[in-house]
């Protein structure tokens, strides 16, 4: 029998309704409550859990107490085994982390959680990518890619997964921004890591002639590697997409950081901005930057790769930027453009227009890139 763990961050989404950006921090939460904020996540969690309740007799459900999952489960018609303890009404990120840890220990097959970027980050911090998780979107900030598109879809995909049906596992970005900076109007998002997320797998019809995302990305890596120029620095940005290039080159890779390659050899792992700039100067700027679209909004620069700063980009030059991404990713972004937010408005303007995104072996898509998220 498959085991499902349910965690609800009961305060996720509270800030949004009252115009506060995010709900991290006790002080903010109090303000939100004073302003009359209602929790969003319980309602959304119930919507997803109702779909899973159809499998009631085929699965075991573990939930954290009260509003952190047990209540929502019961209201959806599930009878969970309740574990752990919380102080109802005063839950904290630590509770989320503890819940994830305990569930992992008890060997759940999937954790379904309701929350926002902060919640995803807490779970990532607690258990890493040990077991698959799936987010029910309920928070204000959704930069992470670990969420289903809506609560119903979360319920559907979780059900398929628990029934052992056609589901793929994908590595999805956990991102979060500095909430304090965000409330002051600055976005400073970081890529924290990757969680394993089940996604609905489509059995493709005989006419479609498509290839799997994974296979296409291997082709993309081969394409980038095959076209690497001699005596040129390659600055490889963070993420699983760019990682496939490092794997192709059989070089050690920093998933969340920037690596530098020269003549197919590693120059440095996880470089900072200054080191990067110095390296570039040594090579007289003869370099290419390889980056992918990070996060749910498709940032090419300015999210998770701030090491690649405006002066670095300028030195390398616009024409030497290679953007890589899967077709799926670009289609999911539609109709929104890829984004640049380097912190230098002039540079962002210069980078805007169209970019050729490498999507596979000898395969690319022309895509719009913009300094403005429409």
């Amino acid at each position: 029998m498959k085991k499902l763990g349910v965690i609800v961050n009961p305060v996720a989404g509270m800030g949004g309704r009252v115009g506060l950006k995010g709900s991290d921090g006790i002080e903010i939460l109090r303000r939100a409550r004073e302003m009359g904020a209602e929790p969003e996540s319980p309602r959304r969690a119930i919507e997803a859990l109702k779909i899973i309740a159809k499998l009631k007799n085929e699965i075991e459900v573990l939930a954290y107490p009260d509003e952190m999952g047990a209540d929502e489960c019961s209201q959806a018609g599930l009878e969970p085994e309740v574990i752990g303890s919380i102080k109802s009404g005063e839950t904290s990120p630590e509770d989320t982390m503890e819940a994830a840890r305990e569930m992992a220990q008890k060997g759940v097959d999937l954790i379904l959680f309701a929350g926002g970027d902060g919640t995803a980050r807490n779970i990532y911090t607690a258990i890493g990518a040990k077991i698959p998780v799936l987010g029910i979107p309920a928070g204000v900030k959704i930069h992470s890619a670990v969420y289903a598109i809506n609560p119903r879809s979360a319920g559907e995909v979780a059900s398929l997964y628990l029934q052992g049906q056609v589901v793929n596992i994908r590595e999805a970005e956990v991102m979060d921004i500095d909430e304090e900076a965000f409330r002051q109007g600055r976005v400073n998002a970081r890529l924290y890591g990757y969680l394993k997320v089940p996604v609905e797998r489509r059995v493709q019809s005989v006419k479609s002639g498509a290839r799997s995302e994974q296979a296409e990305m291997e082709g993309m890596a081969a394409e980038v590697a095959a076209n690497m120029e001699k005596d040129t620095l390659y600055i490889i940005g963070p993420g699983t997409t760019t990682r496939t290039i490092m794997e192709r080159l059989e070089l050690p890779n920093t998933l969340l950081g920037v690596d530098v390659v020269f003549n197919r050899e590693l120059v440095a792992n996880d470089v900072g901005e200054k080191q990067l700039f110095n390296l570039l100067e040594q090579h007289k700027g003869k370099a290419h930057i390889v980056v992918t679209a990070i996060g749910g909004q498709g940032h090419v620069f300015g999210r998770g790769n701030q090491q690649i700063s405006p002066r670095v980009i300028r030195l390398v030059g616009k024409n030497n930027i290679i953007v890589v991404a899967s077709r799926e990713k670009l289609v999911a972004l539609q109709p929104h453009p890829l984004l640049v937010d380097t912190g230098d408005p002039d540079l962002d303007q210069e980078l805007s227009g169209y970019v050729r995104v490498v999507t596979g072996w000898e395969d690319s898509i022309m895509y719009r890139i913009s300094n403005d998220a429409d």
Binding site: V203, Q204, V206, R211, S212, A215, E218, G219, A222, W361
Partner: protein, 468 residues
């Protein structure tokens, strides 16, 4: 005065009442308003210059019959043409089944509503697998030329080498198809090298092969039986040479030979390919060809097939056969970046026909048909070879076809074939342009459809033609 509108039987809504009602429904008063998205200057405003239509069914049948009646056929004439499209016995059940409207008019439906199609194509693969003594086939391809071409590309993807060796005696038709298929932008993707052969036996020149084999060679390709009819008796050795160099050994075979000849898999072929036209299909003016590729059960090969594979599985209903798509992504294991190929509509109906044929024939039928072909062929070669000035080019044993050299008769093949027409005979294919080294030679094809009297008639006619 307005003409009365024509109501076309294949265009039901051309009936004026319905058409008017539907136009009203979509809010147009003139049919051209349906096309308002097309800018005026891009519309074609003239009348296409096509012949006046033949509207009624009787007249179109009569008209077509008159045109096709201008063709001389291989029923009226005794035909010895082969070269990849030989006349074989077609059991009536083959025509019965490929005439079934459900098969004739189906396309790409899924395995539930089109269960029968999936099963029939699975059975095609299964039956061919027995003939080839190999486990893996995909659904079919356009023709043997495509099968040969894709086999060469598969080899290239498997070992990432850029050179293939083929016999200089190979079918020029297939060679030309492969040449285009292995070509690329900007440079040829894969180099094709022709290996010489012995003009007395037809067999591959093993010294030339050894001279050209190297660690750069992706595949060694042979035909067995060959285009020119001889059996490549050194096949096993050629395979060994290929394997030792780490190259794939591709054998292009004639499936109807495999009741009596060994399956290439059993003399070392890692990829077997060919055209299944001999299995239950008519000549059809060349329109009934179909390609196949077979390999062993090894992910290294399975993942390089370009076409769909239907896998046998269960369904949600206990005890029911179901079908799923095998490795749709294919590349999860493969190396697509070493050269992509495309898939598309090919020859499904003919593959189902081949399945019917092999089901009817069984092991005995295949052995018998192979034996008859060998016997008829040897008889014809013997008798023709006895004619003055006529020589059978190769001393090697042959299957189904052999090269006849007329140099000593002082007559060209073209002349001879023209004369043979007077006897209502289509002589063998003229090789004088394709293989000038054989002078005035023709490729004669003899199968199980030829009876003793047919062969004697050919010999008699040839005798008359060369002595006149």
């Amino acid at each position: 005065m307005h003409k009365k509108p024509i109501v076309y039987p294949y265009i039901p809504n051309s009936a004026p009442e319905t058409k008017a009602a539907m136009m009203k429904e979509v809010g147009v008063t003139d049919p051209m308003q349906l096309y308002e998205e097309i800018p005026e200057h891009l519309k074609y405003t003239q009348e296409m210059k096509l012949p006046e239509p033949i509207l009624d069914e009787y007249s179109i049948r009569r008209h077509t019959d008159e045109i096709l009646g201008k063709n001389k056929t291989c029923c009226e004439y005794l035909s010895f043409l082969g070269a990849g499209c030989a006349q074989h016995f077609v059991p009536a059940v083959c025509d019965e089944i490929n005439g079934r409207g459900e098969f004739l008019t189906a396309y790409v439906g899924e395995s539930m509503g089109d269960h029968g199609k999936w099963q029939a194509l699975f059975e095609y693969c299964s039956l061919m697998g027995e003939l080839m003594d190999m486990d893996i086939l995909s659904i079919p391809m356009y023709d043997g030329g495509q099968a040969a071409s894709s086999s060469l590309r598969m080899a290239n993807r498997i070992n990432d080498r850029k050179k293939v060796l083929v016999p200089a005696s190979m079918s020029p038709e297939i060679f030309t198809i492969a040449q285009n298929y292995l070509n690329s932008v900007p440079a040829p993707e894969i180099e094709i090298v022709k290996i010489g052969f012995d003009s007395n036996t037809g067999l591959m020149d093993l010294n030339d092969l050894k001279k050209n084999i190297s660690a750069d060679v992706s595949a060694v390709f042979i035909e067995n039986p060959s285009y020119l009819g001889f059996i490549e008796t050194q096949a096993e050795e050629i395979g060994k040479i290929a394997r030792e160099a780490g190259a794939e050994f591709i054998v292009y075979t004639d499936p109807i030979s495999l009741g009596v000849m060994e399956a290439p898999a059993n003399y070392g072929a890692s990829i077997t390919c060919g055209d299944y036209h001999p299995l239950g299909l008519h000549l059809g003016a060349g329109g009934c060809q179909g390609g196949f590729i077979a390999t062993h059960d090894d992910m290294k090969y399975i993942s390089e097939f370009k076409d769909l594979m239907f896998g046998l599985t269960d369904t949600l209903q206990d005890g029911e056969w179901g079908f799923g798509e095998v490795l749709f992504d294919r590349t999860s294991y493969g190396s697509r970046d070493k050269g992509k190929e495309f898939t598309g509509t090919s020859t499904g109906l003919w593959a189902i026909t081949a399945a019917v044929y092999l089901s009817l024939m069984g092991p005995r039928g295949m052995e018998e048909v192979g034996t008859t072909i060998m016997q008829n062929c040897q008889y014809a070669a013997k008798k023709i070879g006895e004619l003055p000035g006529v020589k059978i080019q190769f001393s090697s044993p042959s299957f189904k076809e052999f090269v006849v050299n007329f140099d000593m008769t002082g007559k060209s093949v073209a002349e001879i074939n023209k004369h043979l027409l007077e006897f209502k005979i289509f002589g063998g294919k003229d090789l004088s342009k394709e293989f000038p080294q054989f002078g005035q030679s023709a490729l004669y094809c003899i199968t199980e459809v030829h009876q003793h009297k047919d062969l004697d008639k050919l010999v008699y006619a040839l005798q008359g033609v060369i002595s006149c």
